[in-house]
Symmetry: C2
Subunit: 334 residues, 2 copies
């Protein structure tokens, strides 16, 4: 007996949204029934063409989400428009009020930092009222520096410290990522942007606090540092040509401090030409766990995968705003 | 406000049961309220003394589970008496009928192989009837060769093959483990025991089929091989002295075959004096994932940890027989 397909709307058609929508088209159990984007270049065009498929999908991009949700029944919206909860809140509100579940790549949605707590509480209340589930997830945050280390602690009798590293060769990543890590800037310009909070990775603090909450850890202090990684030799990507001394990328760290010691450290380095890219988790505990993922989990492909693999989990979850650790872990299904 | 402590009964006081019960005594949110074992050496003694604590616990070991369950209210039973569902079924039945949740180290309980399907279905029905949750878990099976690789596939758009290795230096492990891998035997005696199914690791097939089911993979064939690993030089553990040529342990592999290719391989080597112990998972897919845990996840400590860390998850789960992938992943909580 044929199972009913899960009806999916893609909201946001930047590089991650396109990768996500393409993956949905490959899933036999899912069907793309709508797409939303504000870009004038995309509105009205067939999604198949935008995704680079060799066929049309009969789904035209619209910039009017509300009208789409009203006329097109769907089970879930894959939402990939932005990092900041303040920016995306009106979009989430519209989707939830239409009674649709949401899986979002918004980094801030992973876990409520103090400054976002009120808006996130609103999302939670609204989701419960409309009986839908909202999940913020991804690879980082959402997997390598939060869900994975927490998952590993299942085999620990005690956890004293966790040290996580993610070293990404940004030269292999999409343009917006290379841009947001400051590639090609002078170090002066870099620090100026840092001062204005225009550079840096969103989500490290969310990962830190998610891990801490689940482990039952409290910090005396949290230290965040953002510094440039400078190119030592000339290096060229599809988008940037760096001279020695140019900014190649970023080193962004957060540390949860307890009794003057870093008990949880997240050390993220994303730069063009990074040697030895990898993800690692070191749990100082009983037993000790030293995990390493060679090459690291490839960001863009993996982010699309996590969003799509989370669909069955979110559809079956209790209403409300969930975190990746409240739900059964997502997994691939062929 | 003080939260009510979770009331725990420890069922089975072999090495794993003792490690598990000790860990429960360290958890501020849990309380050991009973202990069951059939050993005449243990019955009637105070659990604190058996665990090697420097205090009594006011809990005496009994061999009458039924009477204990009737007079002592508890939330969950940590069950560590055996691997085989046929052997432990009457114990499970008694616990479930008393209305208690179960977390068991029984390897067969992880996932229903065909020959165990009927008994497992009975467990599931009985658990639903009495509104309790039953979970089979552990480190292997339960974590390194099933839950972990499945967890990793969350970031995969496609999974073509998975290769898992676990190399354990059995010289560091408990006596029952060293014995069950054939340490100290001649290779002839080893193969004789294999013929009688008296040797080998229980749980590899359970892990294989759990992974396959969750990934939606079907096999044309499954190949299982068990061979001795022979000591190349003299080696001594707390329990065994091996001469060169003696059996040092076991290599036990299972492979799920599709179109004449191994699409899922579990390769377990447990032997005294193993070089380079580790756990590894290699996912051939999009993206490719190469994970390695240096030294491997230490078996006995970790098994106790998984059982105890699963308590909050199981207590909050829907009634029935669950698998480790149906529930939110367990994690440490301090």
């Amino acid at each position: 007996m044929a199972q009913k397909k899960i009806r999916v709307i893609q909201y946001g058609l930047g590089p991650i949204g396109i990768e996500t929508a393409k993956l949905v088209t490959k899933k036999s159990g899912m069907e793309l029934v709508g797409a939303v984007d504000i870009s004038k270049d995309l509105v009205g065009r067939d999604l198949g063409e935008i995704l680079g498929l060799d066929k049309t999908l009969g789904v035209r991009v619209t910039d009017n989400g509300k009208a789409l949700f009203a006329k097109t029944g769907a089970d879930v919206v894959l939402h990939t428009t932005g990092s900041r909860i303040r920016k995306i809140y009106p979009e989430l509100e519209e989707i939830i009020q239409a009674g649709l579940n949401i899986i979002s790549s918004s980094e801030e949605l992973l876990f409520p930092l103090k400054e976002n707590a009120e808006l996130m509480k609103n999302v939670d209340n609204l989701a419960k009222k409309h009986q839908v589930t909202v999940l913020g997830t991804g690879v980082n945050p959402g997997f390598v520096m939060d869900a994975l280390p927490l998952f590993l602690t299942a085999v620990c009798q005690d956890v004293k410290k966790i040290h996580m590293e993610r070293i990404v060769d940004a030269g292999t990543r999409r343009y917006p990522l290379q841009k947001k890590i400051g590639a090609g800037m002078t170090t002066d310009a870099f620090y100026e942007k840092i001062g204005k909070k225009e550079l840096g990775h969103v989500g490290l603090l969310e990962s830190l606090y998610l891990v801490a909450e689940k482990l039952g850890m409290a910090f005396d202090d949290v230290i965040e540092t953002i510094d440039p990684v400078v190119a030592e030799k000339a290096v060229k990507t599809q988008y940037f040509s760096l001279k020695p001394g140019d900014v190649a990328g970023i080193r962004h760290s957060v540390k949860g401090i307890k009794k003057e010691e870093a008990v949880i450290t997240l050390d993220l380095r994303m730069y063009i030409g990074a040697d030895d890219p990898h993800d690692s988790v070191h749990i100082v505990g009983i037993p000790e766990i030293k995990l390493r993922i060679e090459g690291g989990v490839a960001g863009d492909q993996a982010t699309a995968a996590v969003l799509v693999n989370s669909v069955p989990v979110v559809i079956n979850a209790r209403p409300g705003l969930a975190t990746v650790k409240d739900l059964p872990a997502a997994h691939f299904r062929g």
